[in-house]
């Protein structure tokens, strides 16, 4: 089964972004394909690396990048959302695997995936 994740949640304020990552990792362990993750709204903050984390907690940007590298998951930052929230430097320093993408492209990916899960 191919899955598109849509992440609206930032890494802070709630645990949803972390839950999205855990869902993605669990899905891949079960043999499913997480074809893409589309970060929308405050979700684009997941791409900012290097924040201090509590022991045992994920640096979400690096964790998403590892998912992209190991499972060929496309990490798509909504260009409108990232333009409103991130600086050019933020986007340039995002870990490998993150790229800007438009809503139309995301809808095209949605069409080709079996399931869409939003966080």
């Amino acid at each position: 089964m191919s899955i598109l994740l849509i992440v609206h949640a930032s890494p802070w304020g709630s645990s949803l972004a972390n839950t999205a990552l855990r869902f993605a990792l669990a899905a891949t362990l079960e043999g499913h394909s997480v074809a893409a993750v589309f970060f929308h709204g405050d979700g684009v903050y997941n791409a900012i690396p290097g924040r201090k984390t509590d022991p045992g907690a994920h640096d979400l940007a690096d964790a998403w990048a590892q998912l992209a590298e190991s499972h060929a998951t496309d990490l798509m930052l909504c260009s409108g959302s990232s333009g409103r929230r991130l600086s050019v430097a933020d986007i340039d320093h995002a870990p490998p695997g993150f790229r800007e993408a438009g809503l139309v492209e995301m809808l095209s990916v949605m069409e080709s995936c079996d399931q869409v899960v939003s966080f």
Partner: protein, 123 residues
């Protein structure tokens, strides 16, 4: 096997004046409409405030332009908009004008319509 995206349901819960995200709900709908995907919009709670016709853009004070784009959607794709039946009745009684014709639905009716959509997104 993935099915073609024929009907997309969008649940709009966020009201206007939402800071950086003020335009993102209508942008989502516009992108789908540009692809001629049939839309069903479900305005819940504060989300229905997005459609108030008399809002005036005031970028200097944080009210960006573009909210009237909701009214353009029916020209781009097949669309139906729904809201909670009690709220629609109350607003109609107060003469509040909306940018889209909105059909009142109960919670059970909304659930039934959402199940008929190929995909559902909550914004």
């Amino acid at each position: 096997m993935a099915a073609a995206l024929q009907k997309l349901g969008l649940v709009v819960r966020q009201g206007p004046g939402n800071g950086r995200g003020d335009r993102e709900q209508v942008d989502f709908a516009l992108a789908a409409a540009a692809m001629e995907i049939e839309l069903e919009l479900f305005f819940l709670g504060e989300g229905l405030l997005q459609l108030i016709d008399t809002r005036t853009a005031d970028p200097e004070h944080g009210v960006p332009p573009g909210h009237r784009a909701w009214a353009a959607l029916p020209e781009m794709t097949a669309l139906r908009a729904f809201a909670e039946d009690g709220v629609v009745a109350q607003w109609q009684g107060q003469g509040i004008s909306l940018l889209l014709p909105v059909e009142p639905l109960s919670a059970a009716e909304m659930n039934a319509r959402q199940l008929e959509c190929h995909r559902m997104l909550v914004l």
